[in-house]
């Protein structure tokens, strides 16, 4: 099957046949017809997002209309979730990120921080890791990886790192990839799966989590994982070079070349900081979406960004995926399909909260390694909700566990754009990624489970 067109059509036919089969098979006991059809839509969406015979955004659109076609929801209901706060929050965040990119603010900050790390390669890699993780608190992880790349590549060129041989290059680039991934757990901005989880909890359980709450719940996982991952990397790939003097000179020269901060840069930073403060302090008054869009619009009013700049940097198709993801989750829950899957799942784990959480973490990590983590989280959130209801675990605990596990995609190149962007430089192999990624995944999953079972209990989440 060498013809890509034929391959796409065949794969699409297989996908559609999932829906046809679901339509004709008898409804299992304990499930309504609507629930059965929503399960079909879930399997269909999972298959389409995994195999990608059509763009994942187009599958997002299909997920919007299929429940209407099957009569599971009414037409107004079918499209209502698309206008969810989470979608517009992400839109606003994308506009602010585009401004940061346009004015090269990230480059300035990165170079400044890296020059402060001294000329010891080990500390340089730690600097890269922390910078990538912390940047993912205010920008989407893929944007951070894309922005960090030129800075890191220039340093690797200066130290004459040889692809696939230099451990320094491996640790540096894996620090970018893993730093972005782990940092994206920390705030609502890092990964789209976070606001989608928020939206899902608000729509289905009337649970409202603020920007600050999210940080409060997730940050211990991030802060504990950062040193652990970095330590794994430097132990697994012992750094072969002893000094970064030449690179240090280059970075200092780049700081000089950038010159003093321009008014446009200062204003963009100020608006970004104001927006973050708005997310923290005005969450309940205005909501994160309004604050994000206000911040974005302020950038337009002050002439700091043009629509073309946003168009250049924001793939609008992704918004359709987000809308589809929220719709899928809510419809699965409302049709009763989520509870049905949860009951079946609990047949394996019983009502033991620890086993339920382990199962959710493993399932999420498995799915997110092969498909968009937003899609994976959207598919599993309703199942987690069902499991929570049946097992007696708080919904917020299962949802947060799924959302945070969705960021633990360290093993495969295709798992996250951060992995793909850094891998494409050719400095490390898929084997390097699998070797370090699998260790890191296991360790981070353990950290997450420990936090879920202890810290979340301590702060009263359950």
């Amino acid at each position: 099957m060498n013809d890509p067109w034929k391959k796409k059509v065949l794969l699409s036919i297989i996908g559609i046949s999932i829906l046809v089969i679901t339509y004709f098979i008898p409804t299992p006991s304990g499930l309504t017809w609507q629930g059965k059809m929503m399960l079909g839509v879930l399997v269909f969406a999972g298959y389409m997002w995994l195999v990608k015979p059509i763009p994942i955004a187009a599958t997002g659109l299909l997920v919007l209309i299929l429940p209407v076609i099957f009569g599971i929801v009414t037409r107004p209901e079918g499209f209502s979730y698309f206008g969810n706060n989470a979608v517009f929050f992400l839109l606003g965040a994308f506009i602010i990120t585009a401004a940061i990119e346009k004015h090269n603010i990230h480059k300035r900050i990165s170079i400044f921080v890296l020059t402060q790390m001294g000329d010891r390669p080990v500390f340089f890699t730690l600097g890269v890791f922390i910078l990538s993780a912390f940047s993912s608190f205010i920008m989407p992880e893929h944007a951070v990886a894309a922005l960090m790349l030129p800075v890191v590549l220039s340093v690797l060129a200066v130290v004459k790192a040889i692809p696939k041989q230099s451990n320094f290059a491996k640790v540096t680039l894996l620090s970018v990839a893993f730093g972005c991934s782990i940092g994206s757990l920390g705030t609502l901005v890092g990964g789209a799966r976070n606001p989608i989880t928020l939206a899902f909890l608000a729509e289905t359980s009337n649970i409202h989590i603020s920007f600050f709450d999210w940080i409060f719940y997730s940050m211990p996982v991030v802060l504990l994982s950062i040193p652990v991952i970095w330590f794994v990397l430097i132990k697994m790939f012992p750094i072969e070079i002893t000094s970064l003097k030449k690179a240090h000179v280059l970075l200092r020269k780049e700081v000089t070349d950038l010159g003093p901060m321009k008014p446009a840069e200062i204003t963009t930073i100020s608006i970004t900081l104001l927006t973050i403060l708005g997310w923290v302090f005005l969450h309940y008054q205005l909501g994160p979406a309004v604050v994000a869009i206000l911040g974005g619009l302020l950038l337009f009013f002050l002439g700091l960004i043009e629509w073309e700049d946003v168009e250049k940097r924001v793939p609008w198709g992704i918004i359709l995926l987000y809308g589809g993801a929220i719709t899928l989750g809510v419809n699965l829950y409302e049709a009763g399909a989520a509870d049905w899957i949860a009951l079946k799942g609990l047949g394996l784990t019983g009502n033991n909260p620890f086993l339920v959480l382990i199962m959710l973490v493993v399932m999420t990590i498995f799915l997110t390694s092969f498909m968009s983590n937003t899609a994976a989280v959207a598919m599993l959130l309703p199942i987690g909700l069902g499991m929570a209801e049946v097992s007696g675990l708080p919904v917020i605990v299962t949802s947060m566990t799924i959302a945070l596990s969705g960021g633990l995609a360290f093993m495969l190149v295709i798992a996250t754009p951060g992995n793909a962007i850094t891998y494409s430089t050719g400095y490390y192999s898929t084997r390097d990624l699998l070797k370090s990624g699998s260790t890191v995944t296991i360790l981070c999953a353990i950290i997450l489970l420990v936090i879920a079972l202890t810290y979340w209990k301590l702060i009263g989440l359950w």
Binding site: A146, L153, I162, P163, I414, A420
Partner: protein
């Protein structure tokens, strides 16, 4: 045969052993070595595969441009500098070239460009790396001998011809290599037809089970002999049932053997 040796270097893998072997062969046969550094398109394009739903095409193309630029300007220089160090005094007899594209395509292109010229390539040296270079099309399409290097000193050479791949060059080339490396040589002819009856022949007629049997037998003999280099002739493509599962005997031999393999072409 080793007048003009091509050592392709993929941006995915630095073939240190292949470079060392090319130096040894160039010294012994007074040859010239051509190094072709290929910036692998498939690696750079991984970004597009995984990132296209979150990154715009424009951003992806900018990033790819950045990576290609760094690869061609900086990384290739670093890699070729290391190559020069490994080549030692032979460095001034070497050609260095950088290209971006698909590994096999670039090698084929280079072979074609220099075909019939003073720089006509007479042998390609690849380094064996599990699951990597045996997948390259060049292994099948190459029109010049391919040396698949696995490292180690050449002390024993086993040259094998079969009745389905009679290659007159195998014995003569094997003798030349054995003499120049001061190695012990064993010539074997593996017969799959009853009328073949050479002095060193191994008759397989009675328990003939298909081409793979000959491959296994060749590898088994080479291992038993403790050969460091196995020289085999060109073999035809063999098809599986109904055209499915086409397999290539020389690739199978190269995969199964634990020594360097030289595949000759007539």
């Amino acid at each position: 045969m080793f007048k003009n040796i091509l050592v392709p270097i993929s941006s995915d893998y630095f073939p240190k052993m292949a470079i060392r072997r090319s130096r040894a062969l160039a010294e012994k046969f007074k040859g010239k070595v051509h190094f072709l550094y290929v910036v692998e398109k498939k690696t750079v394009e991984q970004m597009e595969r995984a990132g296209k739903h979150v990154l715009t095409p424009k951003l992806i193309s900018e990033l790819e441009k950045d990576i290609y630029h760094t690869q061609v300007r900086d990384i290739s220089k670093t890699v070729l500098d290391q190559t020069k160090t490994l080549m030692g005094p032979l460095d001034n007899k070497c050609n260095y070239l950088v290209r971006k594209g698909e590994f096999s395509d670039e090698i084929e292109g280079y072979l074609k460009e220099n075909s019939g010229s003073f720089n006509h390539i007479t042998c390609v040296i690849l380094e064996y790396k599990k699951h990597s270079n045996l997948k390259y099309r060049i292994f099948e399409n190459c029109s010049v001998p391919i040396w698949l290097e696995r490292g180690g000193e050449i002390k024993k050479v086993l040259a094998a011809t079969t009745s389905i791949s009679k290659n007159e060059l195998v014995p003569s080339c094997a003798k030349q290599i054995a003499v120049s490396f001061n190695a012990e040589l064993s010539l074997k002819h593996f017969s799959v037809q009853e009328e073949d009856d050479g002095k060193n022949d191994i008759k397989l007629q009675k328990d003939w089970k298909g081409v793979s049997h000959v491959e296994k037998e060749i590898v088994k003999r080479a291992e038993k002999y403790n050969a460091n280099l196995l020289i085999i002739g060109r073999t035809c493509k063999a098809c599986g049932f109904f055209g499915f599962g086409t397999h290539f005997p020389k690739v199978v031999i190269a995969k199964k053997a634990n020594m360097s393999v030289l595949i000759m072409y007539s």
